[in-house]
Symmetry: C2
Subunit: 601 residues, 2 copies
């Protein structure tokens, strides 16, 4: 393959027996055994065993001095390994290379940790990222990431989508998440913003007759970080004209099936199930339910409005209250300690307690039920609980009763927790499979109690469902949107919508959001203008590449699928960014630092 090497180490097989090969790579392990030196030489395709015999004087002498992670060039002959030393875990496991020359291309100082150590702290790994990236897991993750993005490109290319780059230095529109700002040197006092998404630009490209667009591009949000967030993240961003919502969903679920098939050999269901938002919230308390877990909410709000038990009836009578049951088949065998642990767990989500009923013997009615709360519930309510949950003897029913948000969050999290637990797996409550789902018919607006106004559930460019345009201002809470999320195993892989393509509808939505005409013109004038020039019906979708690959690789953190990620404090420990800059630079940018505030360590 080049003058330096004839093969990748990891791809030397018995097909090359007897041939002379040249290999370049790193010393993975080196050991002396019976006067012979064995080197496991590693390159990106894997390991090969190199043997240095003392009769090859020069090569042997060189080999004596090499240490782990030295970069070597080795020439030698491919031989069969001795019977009994064959390693079937390696492609090269049937052969070894008998060295005739060993050249040290670059020595290495001792490495600060063993590359195959699986218990490294994240700080160690990010500080020594260059070595961390040599580890097999990171090599595999980043190559899979590449294959995923390349499969996406091939799929979209074949359908006539074209990649068009949109600007990185763009306009700040302080809505939603916080912008990263870039001061302008040429235009004093003015700032660019890094894009939170190419949303408006891709819509403009549709108006410009590019018809089908995609881009795999960086987006930026200056938010406090969590395990699955980074200041910069990568979006597979797509938009198309003249397709219906159903056609767009069909296209992108087929794309996702193709990507899984061609990169992991996994066959996703065809078609993906579709569930509307109201059902998802009703049955799972979540708009991204993990469908592997076979537990569902049972709606009990109506039943509890008139029970004596105050916890239930107060919640049921709240304007935004909700009471649900979560039937856990065979949950009656759960020890008290586990129930207590779940009680603590739901408290994280704001639940003030976790009522439950054990169904010992249904036929006995009230007497067959075991629970501190049974005495507070009348027979009719108990009958409804049993009937609606479909509980059988031996089951356990948990209850959530609070504001709907608390119930959904707490019992939703509990549902997942139980499903993924040892108990859940044993009880068959968890189906270890790939379970995609479309969630559709999202509400157009959510009510922001703090600001006392309606906000856009997706974004203000999402089209209402046909026939809902007239309710935009009169009954915003009832308006549904042509919005859809692709969910996989409890993760939102991507989301999108049909966009508004008529200027008068867009203006109406701005009014519903209390964005005045002047403000709309200032912030989104270019969009409103564009819509007036025969904007086509259009819509699209954006997938989070980091999240997708994290899920596909089973990684714990998106940092494991990004070559050079930031920490949760938004720092790059390798290059030590961000850092202080020269006063001269600040001066050129027409800014100064605010009076020194105590620096948070």
């Amino acid at each position: 393959m080049s003058s330096m090497r004839t093969q990748y180490c990891g791809l030397v097989t018995e097909e090359l027996l007897g041939q002379t090969v040249s290999l370049c790579g790193w010393v993975h392990r080196r050991r002396d055994h019976g006067g012979v030196i064995f080197i496991d030489l590693r390159d990106r395709e894997g390991l090969v065993q190199v043997v240095c015999h003392p009769d090859q004087v020069e090569a042997f002498k060189a080999a004596e001095h090499v240490r782990n992670e030295y970069c070597l060039r080795i020439t030698g002959t491919v031989n069969n390994r001795l019977e009994g030393t064959i390693n079937n875990n390696l492609k090269s496991g049937k052969i070894e290379v008998v060295a005739t020359a060993v050249e040290v291309l670059n020595p290495s100082v001792p490495v600060p940790f063993q590359l195959d150590d699986d218990n490294l702290s994240e700080t160690t790994r990010l500080t020594h990222r260059v070595l961390d990236l040599r580890r097999q897991q990171m090599q595999d993750n980043l190559r899979l990431r590449y294959r995923v993005s390349m499969e996406v490109r091939k799929y979209l290319d074949a359908l006539g989508f074209i990649d068009i780059e949109t600007p990185m230095l763009t306009k700040s529109t302080p809505e939603g998440a916080r912008d990263y700002l870039v001061p302008s040197r040429v235009n004093p006092g003015n700032f660019f913003a890094l894009p939170q998404s190419p949303q408006l630009f891709k819509q403009l490209l549709m108006v410009s007759n590019f018809d089908r667009y995609y881009q795999i591009t960086k987006c930026f949000r200056d938010e406090d970080l969590r395990a699955d967030r980074q200041p910069e993240f990568t979006q597979i961003d797509c938009e198309t004209s003249f397709l219906t919502e159903q056609e767009i969903r069909d296209l992108f679920e087929d794309m996702m099936r193709t990507v899984f098939r061609n990169t992991k050999g996994i066959e996703l269901p065809n078609p993906f199930p579709v569930m509307d938002f109201a059902t998802a919230m009703g049955m799972y308390g979540s708009d991204k339910p993990d469908m592997r877990v076979k537990l569902q909410f049972t709606e009990l709000t109506d039943v509890m409005k008139s029970v004596e038990f105050k916890v239930f009836n107060a919640a049921a009578n709240l304007p935004n209250g909700r009471v649900v049951g979560l039937r856990v088949p065979q949950g009656g065998s759960m020890p008290r300690s586990e129930i207590d642990a779940y009680t603590q767990f739901v408290a994280i989500y704001g639940a003030k307690g976790l009522a439950y009923i054990k169904v010992n013997e249904k036929a006995k009615g009230r007497d067959g039920l075991q629970s501190p709360i049974v005495k507070n519930l009348d027979d009719a309510a108990l009958a409804q609980i049993l009937e609606r949950t479909g509980a059988e003897d031996g089951d356990l029913i948990f209850f959530g009763a609070d504001k709907a948000k608390v119930v959904n969050d707490a019992i939703g999290a509990l549902r997942i927790k139980i499903g993924h637990s040892e108990f859940g797996k044993k009880a068959g409550l968890f189906d270890d499979a790939w379970k995609p789902l479309w969630v559709v018919d999202f509400p157009m607006f959510e009510y922001d109690e703090e600001d006392d106004r309606w906000t856009a559930t997706h974004h203000p460019f999402t089209a209402p469902k046909d026939g809902h345009e007239d309710m935009l201002e009169s009954n915003p809470g009832a308006c549904l949107a042509k919005a859809y999320d692709m969910v996989l195993n409890g993760w939102e892989l991507g989301g999108g919508s049909i966009r508004i393509h008529r200027e008068e509808v867009q203006s109406k939505v701005f009014r519903a959001l209390k964005i005045g005409a002047e403000e709309a013109q200032l912030k989104f004038g270019f969009l409103l203008d564009a819509l007036q020039y025969g904007a086509p019906p259009h819509g699209g979708l954006a997938f989070g590449l980091d999240r997708l690959v994290t899920l596909m690789t089973g990684s714990e953190s998106i940092r494991d699928v990004i070559a050079f990620p930031k920490t949760q404090r938004a720092q790059d420990l390798l290059t030590n960014a961000p850092s202080e800059v020269d006063e001269k630079q600040l001066k050129e940018l027409h800014i100064r630092l605010r009076a020194a505030e105590p620096k948070v360590a």
Copy 2:
């Protein structure tokens, strides 16, 4: 292709005769003719003629109201056009679609200019970019741009290169160009920089055993803009381990041949000619000579050291002086006015005059030469001029005499100007072809007279040629680098080098650049660290995608191959960025504006 349309407009041909089609697109032109309405409907694949007859009452009524740039959905039957109305410039030129239904998907207000107007100002085009992008030229440019980047990906993918994303929020290292800075909210007083190139990250990836990397990515430089510069630009960035300079050049010239072949059907030469830097500067006064122009410098510095003519001898005796001739075959016929114009032209580049000699009749010696300067040159010098330039009767010789930089710039520009002129083309001095060239063996360092120190010609990570390591500190001016530029028709398409892979050589280069150990550690400690862990021999290349596509499309400005470019004042006229931001945002970022300075309009 979808429920809204069965075909692209531009692809309806006689193969569909008699069939019913549904089309979506924009009204390119609409005219009434003999009681019939003709609409040229346009989508991204081109135009189709739609005919609306009055007997289709509904369709006709709708068609009566449509105007240019209305977005329509049309259903109709494909018919042959009448003899004599066939348009062979269109794929759909043999047919027309007889409309049975015309649906207005979205009307359009009158457009501010005709889409086929070729004389629009750049301000108009950028302000109304959404309409500007509907123009055929911009559609073609951005689709070619996409095909180029996709061909690059396919080529590199087949060779095992993988695309790995490097950070956009990175560390400021105030060297070379000015950084765009991004204030950190979480780390008060600290700043990220947007990358000027992924140079160091791609080197780290080589150390991390990724072996072959590429990325098509945005880079940022906050420099004053020229026609071929943008604040953000796109780089095809490549790096590989274990290849020699020759192997890297072979690979990437083959890639470029493949891209030109597969996107434009153009066959570039194989192999590309290779020229060392010294020769290029000697013969063309440029490290990116336009090889289409068949004019060369003739070195005369040595000859002029002792002539009486002060202009020549002073320049020849300067430490950095140079005297050259530029023979223009048949240039003797050039009118005086053209020579005067060239004299003014070279003044732009700092030349104080433009001496010349017309060779009327060589055989007559001094008497056969026509020039104000002949009397100041002795016979020996004249003989040398004639011999070295190889001038024939009827030729003209221009002279440059000044500091080498002025001579190279001025006579280099003159060479191109004459080559591209009407005269040059008639005289056969211009070969209208694709003329790639590798320029190699660049000097490691350039002397910065202003700062009185050596600076890196490429960047400080470039490896010296074998055997030149020892001169790095003792004789930096004589050190050559393993650096190479790919040049095409006078444009630098890309450049790269073999990188330093040994820590001690890198430290030596930093010392030669007067970067102290402490400063080196602070700025590049992560690189020096990485090199110590068995960094492999590696090198690479980066191409400017904007420039490449500009050249391939014959565009006048790189703004014509970018969907949403900035103006020369780094502004986005469409979205009006950069703009002022809220005080709250600045506060969160721990910065404030400097006292208002007069805003430059």
